[in-house]
Point group: D2
Chain length 343, copies 4
């Protein structure tokens, strides 16, 4: 079903000048051409292009606003055409350094006014938190700035940004999510998940970045525990099946996403997509599928901080017995991943 696994390694140079990296989906020449089924070993710099390294680094001082959220890619996938779907299976995600950072950024985040939710109020203080990442213990350690207090969170690596070139000839900033994927910022984008992305241009032009050591749902302050990431993914192709909005599959869930404002519309997109998917897979009528989804689904918020917001609709597979989405592609990729010798 998939091409024989070929290994491609692509690592942007660590410490390179931020202006040499890629900050958009679409509009760039591919860095590599790969075949469907390729095992891609790659690395991505953190969202600050590596410039925020300590609690005294402020992103507004050390970063160039034109160079935020660098992406690794784009990768040209042989045979990918508009109307196909890319299936990106995340085999492994591992922070590549023993630290991560989070910050507040003036007029960015859910609990502040922003350039679009514009008010006349002053910005919140700009602060940086440096987290220790204990990869052996699988821990992310928060230390308070203004008191003597720490919190130990579980390490839960994920990619905030995964996508392909958009439709209609658009080129979109890596700071925004949409039908092409992009900056969805959902913690569901972790190892073990397969992300489905509809192809809009020849070769799909897949990129990824924005590693998070972990993230709360909603990404309230706008910034997760940001980190450079070592990533292994299998990049596969499903021919002849479109995918209007990004989907995610795990062993336990089918997931759909929607990204727009207001947030209820992101919910509406994700939920109509789920109703349609469940109907297609089960043979249920649209109204019956609407009913099943209404009683069975989980709907965590992914982000309320990016230029548009993202909601995930998660349907437990146990409520969909016998369903084998995309001909069992996720299970197939899981098997391929298990067979890989990583390390």
């Amino acid at each position: 079903m998939t091409a024989p696994a070929e290994l491609v390694e692509y690592r942007p140079e660590e410490g390179a000048d931020p202006s040499t990296l890629v900050y958009v989906f679409g509009g760039n020449e591919p860095v590599r051409q790969i075949r469907p089924g390729t095992v891609l070993r790659t690395w991505s710099e953190d969202c600050f292009a590596g410039r925020v390294r300590s609690s005294s680094d402020l992103s507004s001082e050390v970063c160039d606003p034109r160079f935020l959220n660098p992406q690794t890619g784009p990768f040209y996938v042989d045979g990918a055409e508009p109307g196909d779907t890319l299936a990106v299976h995340f085999v492994n995600l591992e922070p590549s350094r023993d630290w991560g950072v989070s910050t507040t950024v003036p007029f960015f985040g859910a609990l502040t006014s922003t350039p679009t939710t514009a008010t006349l109020q002053a910005a919140l203080p700009e602060l940086t938190w440096r987290y220790d990442l204990d990869r052996a213990a699988r821990e992310v350690i928060f230390r308070a700035r203004e008191s003597d207090h720490s919190v130990v969170f579980p390490l839960d690596p994920m990619h905030g940004t995964v996508g392909v070139a958009p439709a209609l000839g658009e080129v979109r900033s890596s700071l925004t999510p949409g039908p092409w994927g992009g900056n969805m910022d959902t913690p569901e984008m972790r190892a073990g998940a397969t992300c489905y992305l509809g192809v809009n241009v020849h070769g799909a032009l897949f990129s990824l970045g924005d590693g998070h050591a972990r993230q709360g749902e909603g990404e309230a302050c706008g910034v997760a525990v940001e980190c450079a990431m070592d990533t292994v993914a299998i990049v596969d192709l499903i021919k002849g099946q479109p995918c209007p909005w990004p989907r995610i599959e795990t062993d336990d869930f089918l997931m759909t996403t929607g990204s727009t404002k207001p947030l209820e519309d992101a919910f509406r997109i994700a939920t109509t997509e789920m109703v349609g998917w469940v109907a297609a897979e089960t043979g249920l009528s649209t109204m019956d599928a609407y009913q099943v989804v209404s009683q069975g689904v989980q709907t965590p918020i992914a982000n309320v901080c990016d230029s548009v917001y993202t909601v995930v609709s998660k349907m437990p597979k146990r409520f969909l017995p016998g369903v084998d989405a995309y001909g069992g592609r996720h299970a197939d990729l899981r098997r391929q991943a298990a067979a890989l010798q990583l390390g």
Copy 2:
């Protein structure tokens, strides 16, 4: 801290004329006066006032639109004053019949236009699904209307509507949620949870209703698996502490809620409430608490179908070691509940 447990039983007459029930928060005489710490055994009719009983019953035909979502209450709580907080601990919820119903209702729900998200399109079909509730097996059984397909969901009883009289002399329909609680429609309102509600009037005037055998997050079609419910709750009082928006505590989570439109504002309310709560309980500064919440929280959507929408912010207690909200009231109520001889 709480008064000695007194048992009060109040059961509206099953099969009573819907017009004799209560459909608002505020503005009604109490049905009972109870002391803080009372164990309340009660029963609530389903949201259709018991009129939708089979898949051929359409709510638009068998229900009077003035009499939807009846509440049981209000209960006057001795000593409750504006500025206090009611703590309602749900000991047990059990559907009182072996069936439940869900429906689509014209121009009601998340995936249809509505009287406020008004369009010129025709309504979706009006349909009713009757579910079998297998209380022994703890199962909720869906049967498709338009094909031969069934789904077995776990029974997960909850109250969609729990609240007190609103502030500012308002009387609000039981169909809407807000700072007084009301129709929040979150599956978190299940047995084992303690719901905190800010008191706005003398006696608080607590009511509850809208039993659901289960509900998906978001309540997409607008109607859960609706059922009459037998409920045991301990109604307690926390003096001198206001609670601007409803909160929920379980053994594992502190939760805040926000209800408004657009949905991002419901998220903003719930999240600022959580930041404030975490800061107050841990001594963290607001900015440090904002950071901890941003990395640690879960934010499921409760409903996107009622007159305004609800988001829940859930903070795992394991990220808040040593925190003992309201002086350990929830743990205390759990112990009292465990000591009760139910049945």
Copy 3:
């Protein structure tokens, strides 16, 4: 068509204790019972219950938050039943004092975070501006607080709040607008206009208040040039015709309103109402009426500061030749108004 004009004068006592006034729609006993067609001469206190009188008065200090936006009424209209429409024709509005005030209120207004668009930012400064109202010159004079600058605006008196008792047994704060009218805050509610309000309870229970010497569209800072107002209105009744959302008619325009959040939904309500009204009056199909409205209408924003927001849809009557809404009731009321000997 209307009952013979009877004159009723009702004036709440100026300087009365704010707690003796009315702050809700619904839930209060009528102050007067009037017949349809009555000429009502009345007076309303300003939204601060008269407590903010100089630039050194801060509403947060001199006002009780439970007693904001007092209404004059309610008036019981004989024969008004659910399903009827009240037609309130504004004959004359005149500020009753030679000054008005505007303020900023912490966390209230369009360009600040609020309790629902909640952020962690500090409030804007609280300030009061006192305006001179030159009723002879028909001028409203602004004087800057923080520089030597003044602006002369035209006097354009209007009522921010006009409404009846809500449906479903609700009682709603005078601070919020909705299908019952209430705090719509549109400058279109001026002398010469007829406001149509759907009746929800016996007697309609009409009230009005919140006089503005003038107001910009959107009421950005949340507070217009607030003033006590002398008002003459003819309160008429249209039997057997419901009015789901408030409408306004002038010599030149048919207007519909919608009040909700997000603001696009307020637009959708007002515009679907206008499409329906145009179709009903012209015999056009819904789709043809949608087309005519799309090319002909004006849609000013009324308020983006109240608990929900209001949009007005204005259709020039010259695009609707031959249309005679409600059997020419507005023109009839204009004639009656012209015949009155005011002063």
Copy 4:
């Protein structure tokens, strides 16, 4: 201040294949290089690329969805750099044919669900209306499809889409508005107005299109009276002054715009921009300017149908005596325009 007027004429070939036209802002080579102060005589095809010509043409059948809303341009303006502002003064707009068309498009418009306000409902009927444009009488004539009814509207030509290349390396579809201008769809973009656009890339890369013979505010059905347009504009440059969101100036008004969702945020953008502009021009403090704007401004809705929505804030210049925005550039351009020998 401006360069001596040079005349440049650029006319895309009428009847050209739609695929040869331009459908994005940014990302295309300029069609002409012009000097600041150039008088540009140009022509733009209608939003359907000229393919919808009669009431039996359906856009879904005769148009390629990749080729909607063609733009004329881009024009490279000598000396325009990021941080500058382009001033485009519209001297004359005239429909170039004696007909225009409007349509409904499935799942497009304010009174239908859309791909983002997604529901499960069926689409509204797809219909086309052909309007006669009587340019001598300055009339736009509507004829009903489903009854014998006509409406005569005034001709009021405008450009729905005017913009420059976006920031951050983005390329944006001509169907969407934003900080770069684009598909704002405001009737204020008519002859006599000067549009200010912030420059994001060398040469600005200005384009325009989407002529409307007239349009109602809000563009409810999503489609105005679309027409090919002959346009004369003076394209001028203001060095060293940025313009974060498009502004418009006429003899009587200063206007700001905001484009985003939800619509209240578009209002917030436009209004904060106006407060800032008024403060800068008058020397008023921000809070005083907030007050003046709150009492003086008009806020018509531009569109509630595009991918994001647009609000205009209009401040009457008579409330801003002595203000001379951009050193009187608009008045200067008016004089230049008056001196032109058109025809």
